[in-house]
Assembly symmetry: none
Homo-oligomer: 403 residues x 2
C-alpha cells in the first residue's frame, strides 16, 4: 500500500487487546524437485502447519506483483503493508541494517567494496580478490573515524571485501552518484551531486575516497574503495501509527531486525535457533499485540541450492509451531517474504503460500499447507501488501468503513 492506502487503514484501525502473530518463513516458496514433482514445502512433513491450514484459510501472495523477484527489504516492507515501490530502501541502508548498525534518521549510508587499482588508477578487481572478513575488519579500522569536516564517520566491515560507510552530520543528502564504475579497466568515478542539496555530501564522499586511497596505497590488492547506494533510512509511518499496534520483532538475523526497526517495531533479544525464537515469543507474549517472527534458514538453504536442508528447516518450524498455537493468538499468519527455490539457488518471482488462522476466518477446502493446495484457497492470489489489513480484520481491529 502506498501512503494514501496506509492513511486509509490508519483511519479505520483501532487498538484492541487481540493479538496477531506473523510467522515469516524466509524464501518459503519453491519449485518441484524434478524427481518427485514436489516442492520443498510439499516434501516436508508438516502435520502442524497442515492442521492450521485445514482450520484456517489459505491463498497465494505476490510479494510485489506477478513476475517481480524482490530482495528481502522490499519483500518485508510489503509484508508489513508498505508498498515497496513507493518506499524504497537504498543499498547503503540495507547493508547497514545487515550489520545491526543503528542508523539515525539523518545518517547517510553507502555500501563499500575494497578493490584493486593499478598504477594508473584503473580498477583491476572490483572485489580485491574477495579478501577475508578478518582482513576487511582490519582495513575498516584504518578508515573508521577519518577526519572529515563537519561529519562523523563510521566504517564497518560486512563480509569479505564489503563494508558500510555511514556519514553523520548536518545538511547531508543522499542524492549522489556512485563511485563504483561497475566494470574494470576504468578509474573509479567521481561522486557527483544529483541535485544541489547533495553538493555537501558529494564533496565529503569524494574527500573520504581520496583519504582512503592515500591510506590504502600500500595495502595492495586492497588499495582503493568503491562506494555505491548512498541512502538514508526511509521515513515510514510506524506500525503503531498506521495499525495502532504495539509490535515486536523476533529475528536472529540483523537485516530483519533492521527492517522491523524501520517500521517502528520493538526488536526483542533472541537466540539463533528456531526453537529459541519461539521461546522468545512465549516469554514476551503478554507485552505486545503484534509479533513478527522471522525464520532465515529456509532462504539460506534455498540460496545454497540445498533442497533437503530447506525441507528440514520447514520441518523444524512445524515442530516449533505448537509453542505458538498453544498461546491461542487471535490471528496467526504463516507465509514467506518471497520464494527461494533450491532449483534456482536464489530468490524468485513465484507466488508463495499463505495461511491465515483465526476464529473469524472462513475456512476453505485446503487441507495442507503447500503451493499446490493454496492455489485453491479461499484467499485467492493477492499482493502481499494486503496481508496486514486481512490480519487486522480477522483480529477485529479494523472498524467499519463508511456508514
Amino acid at each position: 500500500m502506498d501512503l494514501v492506502n496506509l492513511e486509509f487503514i490508519q483511519s479505520i484501525s483501532t487498538p484492541s487487546p487481540t493479538k496477531i502473530v506473523l510467522v515469516v518463513i524466509d524464501g518459503l516458496g519453491g519449485l518441484p524437485n524434478p524427481e518427485t514433482g514436489k516442492t520443498e514445502l510439499e516434501t516436508a512433513n508438516t502435520p502442524n502447519l497442515d492442521k492450521l491450514a485445514a482450520s484456517g484459510t489459505c491463498g497465494l501472495i505476490d510479494p510485489v506483483s506477478p513476475g517481480i523477484t524482490p530482495g528481502s527489504s522490499p519483500a518485508h516492507l510489503a509484508l508489513f503493508g508498505y508498498n515497496p515501490i513507493t518506499f524504497e530502501v537504498g543499498r547503503g541502508v540495507v547493508e547497514a541494517m545487515g550489520i545491526d548498525f543503528d542508523l539515525e534518521p539523518g545518517d547517510i549510508a553507502a555500501r563499500g567494496n575494497f578493490c584493486t587499482v593499478d598504477k594508473a588508477g584503473l580498477v583491476t578487481d572490483r572485489r580485491a580478490g574477495r579478501i577475508s572478513t578478518e582482513k576487511c575488519t582490519e582495513l575498516c579500522q584504518l578508515l573508521d573515524g577519518l577526519a572529515l569536516e563537519g561529519v562523523r564517520l563510521f566504517v564497518r566491515p560486512v563480509r569479505e571485501h564489503r563494508f558500510v560507510v555511514v556519514f553523520q552530520g548536518e545538511g547531508l543528502a543522499p542524492d549522489v552518484s556512485d563511485s563504483d564504475p561497475q566494470q574494470v579497466g576504468v578509474v573509479p568515478k567521481t561522486i557527483v551531486a544529483l541535485n544541489p542539496q547533495a553538493d555537501v555530501m558529494a564533496d565529503i564522499a569524494n574527500q573520504f575516497v581520496a583519504q582512503a586511497k592515500t591510506i590504502l596505497a600500500k595495502y595492495h590488492p586492497t588499495n582503493m574503495v568503491l562506494l555505491r547506494g548512498f541512502s538514508r533510512r526511509p521515513q515510514l509511518p510506524t506500525m503503531s501509527e498506521v495499525y495502532k499496534l504495539n509490535s515486536a520483532a523476533i529475528a536472529s538475523y540483523p537485516m530483519y531486525r533492521g527492517l522491523a526497526k524501520l517500521v517502528g517495531m520493538q526488536v526483542l533479544e533472541t537466540g539463533v535457533s528456531i526453537k529459541e525464537e519461539f521461546v522468545t515469543l512465549r516469554q514476551n507474549y503478554a507485552n505486545y499485540d503484534f509479533f513478527f517472527l522471522h525464520i532465515k534458514g529456509t532462504d539460506s538453504a534455498g540460496e545454497d541450492g540445498d533442497f533437503d536442508r530447506k525441507v528440514s528447516v520447514i520441518e523444524e518450524v512445524d515442530k516449533a509451531l505448537p509453542g505458538l498455537t498453544s498461546l491461542e493468538p487471535d490471528v496467526i499468519v504463516v507465509t514467506g517474504d518471497h520464494s527461494t527455490p533450491a532449483l534456482l539457488k536464489g530468490h524468485s518471482w513465484h507466488p508463495l503460500p499463505i495461511l491465515l488462522y483465526s476464529q473469524w476466518c472462513r475456512p476453505d477446502g485446503v487441507g495442507e499447507f503447500s503451493e499446490s493446495a493454496c492455489i485453491l484457497g479461499g484467499l485467492g492470489r493477492f499482493p502481499a501488501t494486503q496481508i496486514m489489513p486481512l490480519a487486522m480484520a480477522h483480529a477485529l481491529k479494523l472498524s467499519k468503513f463508511g456508514a
Copy 2:
C-alpha cells in the same frame, strides 16, 4: 501497466539470449454451447495445447478489468504490457492501422463515412446505404490529395462506406470534435478545436469537409462525408526500451501488424494461413528473442456466430503447435486478446484462458487448456498487463528488485 510501472519494469529488465513466444488466438474465450455445455475451446480437440497446459501453469486473464469488453487495440496493448486506459489508441489511428497505412508520428488520422444528405443538408443515412468497397475506393480517389494549405492529405478506402483520412503537416493537433452527429435528421457538425493548439486542425478539417461536399454533390447517395475519431498514433515506449527485447510480429491482418509497430516490433512478412505463420516463426527464429504470433480466424468466426468454425480454427492452431514447441523456446505463452463467444457474435468481457510454459514455471493441477480448467490454474485470475512481466521473469530476463 501505466508509464510508472513500465519504467519500473524497464529498470529491472535485462537483455539475454532466452526466447519468448506469445501466441495470441484472437477472441479465444467463449461461452458454452447450450446443447453440450462446452465452449469452443472445450469442444475443440487440442492434444498439443492440453499437453502444454499440463506441463505449464495456467490461469485466466482480464484484458482490461472485470466486466470490460475491449476492442482489439486496447486488448493488444494490454497483452504487450501497456495499460490500455492510459495509452489510448484513437479510432482514426485504428482505422489507418487496419489498412496497413504507416502513420508518421505527427500525422492525424480520422475515420470517415460516406453518407447521404438531403437538399437541406440534413443527414438521411449515415452509411450511404452501405455502398460497396469498390464504390468507396472510387470515391476516395476523388478526394485523395485534395489541396489544403500546408497539409498533405491521404484518403484511403477501408470497407463499404468507411474510409480513412490522414492529414500530414506541421502544427496539427488531434484534439478536435467529430463532424459525425451520430444521428439522422440533423446537419453534420462543424468540427471545433477542443483546445487552442488544435485550431489549425479544426480549420483544415472543415475545409476538407467543405471541398468533399462540393465534389460529392452529384454522387447521391454518397454526397457527403462524416468524420470522427481524429487521433495521432500514441507515443509508446518501445518493447526494446521497456523490456530490452528484440521483438518480431507475425500477423496476417494489417491491424495487428499496426499494433505491433506501435510498440516498436519488427513486422515479418508472412502468409495468410496459420500454417504459414508458424513457418515464418521457424524461419526467423534465430533473429529475435520475442515473437508475437497472431491468429485471427477464431475472432472472425466468433463475430460471425459460427461456433463450429471457431472450433476448427482452434484445432488448426493445435495442429501447428508442434512447429513451435519443437523450437524449445524458453517461454511459451498461449492466450487470446479477449473473448469472442460465438453465442454473442462479438467481443465480450469474459476472462480468457492463458497458459505459460517454461522450465521455471511451477506446474499446477490443470491438465487441459480450457476456460473451466484454467479457473483452477496456478496463475489465478489477473490483468493481461501482467503477462509480460511474468513471461520476462520465466525467461530470466528480470533482475532482482531491491536488496
